[in-house]
Symmetry: C2
Subunit: 375 residues, 2 copies
């Protein structure tokens, strides 16, 4: 059966990139790799919209998240963590695993943080060393206002550390301009690659903290990695085939141009939202982002059954995670995705919902999406 991958990561890899990665393996301690990595370094800075070097690790995104914690903080430090979904919770889990004193700012699943709540937390927990936030909370589909958070956090001693795993290359995140101190991301989202690379970029302010941070680290040691990168190398063996692919996908992204990439994601997201709403469905997120559309399962229908029904038709989407299991389903439009992927997703969704006894007027969701896409 023909397969469509429309889950929020891993996302589809362009065929030309798959073939680039299928070239014979090269060694990393060679001029050839160093020339390749020099291109990647330059393009990563453009993608992250930051002047400092972007660090790269052979790891999934969680690896760079751990790196952001252990390279900037010391045992017992106070930190504020915005928790509004599985990935906000992961920041707190990492911080707790390393003995930090976590002050959570909890928001209901599907909601976005009120920046005033973070300002309040910074007042109640003075001398907090960092605020951890999630730009695109993939588990709920919600986007958080990082620009507003940066404006608040910048007035304190705290660093603003942002999970940009499903926002980098999807929505604008000019980290230097906004004053984000650390942004982390991964390869298997808008970067259109297989999973296995993670990234971290730091502001000057964040780099100043690194020598003071006393949490232990080795594999995710930022100083060691920055030193290696200066010579177009990595401290430990890099995921060479993924770096080969990364050069190709960065070229694709930068050739389209960041404004074009963000506009495309926004248009696809608006189309997907219009489509599901035309079917009478409700969005799970109050302020949905452009990475994926999370849809509340209608009364009497299990979100997992929708995911299974889609899979039977060759389409992979995602269900709800943790306590959201069964209550929603998530359709991605991130990375190597075009208008007809959205049309396909909505067309299949209509048929699956009909199978499950939900009243559907075939073409209603697709048509609503088309009207957005045609505009």
């Amino acid at each position: 059966m023909k397969q469509y991958l429309l889950a929020p990561g891993p996302t589809p890899v362009p065929p030309a990139v798959l073939l680039a990665m299928a070239q014979p393996m090269i060694h990393h301690r060679t001029p050839e790799y160093e020339a390749l990595f020099a291109d990647v370094r330059r393009d990563l800075r453009l993608l992250f919209q930051c002047k400092n070097e972007v660090l790269m690790f052979a790891a999934s995104g969680t690896g760079a998240m751990e790196g952001a914690v252990v390279n900037t903080l010391s045992p017992g430090d106070r930190v504020i963590v915005v928790r509004g979904g599985k990935f906000g919770e992961r920041w707190a889990d990492i911080c707790q695993a390393y003995g930090l004193h976590v002050f959570p700012v909890d928001i209901p699943y599907g909601k976005s943080v009120d920046p005033a709540a973070v300002a309040g937390a910074l007042e109640r927990a003075p001398a907090s060393k960092a605020v951890f936030a999630t730009h695109s909370e993939t588990s709920t589909g919600a986007v958080h206002d990082i620009q507003a958070l940066a404006g608040i956090v910048r007035r304190t001693e705290a660093l603003l550390v942002v999970d940009a795993i499903t926002s980098l290359g999807v929505m604008d995140l000019p980290m230097d301009a906004w004053g984000v101190d650390v942004a982390v991301s991964g390869s298997q989202k808008a970067l259109m690659l297989p999973p296995g690379l993670s990234f971290a970029a730091l502001s000057d302010r964040a780099w100043e903290r690194v020598p003071l941070a006393r949490l232990p680290r080795f594999y995710f040691d930022f100083v060691r990695e920055r030193k290696a990168i200066a010579g177009n190398q990595s401290a430990y063996t890099p995921a060479v085939s993924l770096v080969v692919g990364l050069r190709e996908t960065l070229r694709l992204i930068l050739t389209e141009g960041l404004p074009g990439v963000f506009a495309r994601h926004d248009r696809l997201a608006r189309a997907a939202r219009a489509g599901v709403q035309a079917l009478g469905l409700t969005l799970f997120a109050e302020h949905p982002g452009a990475a994926c559309t999370a849809v509340t399962a209608p009364p009497g229908i299990d979100g997992g059954a929708v995911v299974k029904g889609m899979r039977k038709r060759g389409i992979t989407i995602a269900g709800g995670q943790g306590s959201m299991k069964g209550k929603m389903f998530r359709i991605s439009h991130m990375g190597y995705v075009d208008p007809f992927d959205v049309v396909t997703a909505l067309g299949a969704l209509e048929m699956v919902l009909a199978d499950l006894g939900y009243p559907v007027s075939f073409g209603a969701g697709v048509g609503a999406a088309q009207r957005v896409l045609q505009a």
Copy 2:
């Protein structure tokens, strides 16, 4: 120019495996991935020759090394580290980064550890919690007698933790039978894959220590990973494309059979050694392993110049690392390598040495290797 990759990692990837990895991306939270990973789990246990689950991480081999440290030890623990090259030193560096009390057993580069020295260290540092060793010290080409070390360490409370990164699938390491407590490895060596996967297998004795270990960890948390693996999943997004390739390379290895794989590597190593010795060159390692042949640069010739000369002819080998830089060069015969790769390496080496003014009788090295390979 036609390229030959004969460095000790990354090693060549079989073309069929490259193409398997170039298939469209699949999602990991699906029955398809779970069926794939069930095969991988089973085959990894056969490869590691252990009954317990083999843990897999999206990381290079150093990641699993760090995991072995942080999941078995607590701050201030005494550990004994065998250091006879760059990778033995890495164990010590990781242990020191995590505040362990390191008792080194230092041996000159190129030598293998005398098991009695480890027994002596265990007496001088009683209550040591672990002994860290390297099966195949890739930086010197030396093999260490892990079976003998296991016999000694097993009589104490210490765990024996072994870097098997360039020995797994190259030389026999029956970890359960010998009593090795932790073995770690990586994908880009005898497993014939791109870098980006690392592995760790633990004995029952090692698993008993994990709940007592108080070093902080998150990404490399072994308990969380073991729990996920039981459901054919991973705690965090796995390096899906590499896992797809891993199923293929494990099949290749197990179809050939471990005894056949070890015999092949041994034969290629003997041929390479015979070849360089027939050229009047000296082996760097006193007890060379079957992963790579480290050759001492002859007087007046820089090892780096040999590496560069080989590269100009399309052949990637490795030079010396750290203080061994310039003093040696290393030819790998690990993984997807056959007799004619050894012939190629020696043929090119003869021509490069002649370029550098070293007296060479063309065909002398190749011929000596052929005699081993023909036997």
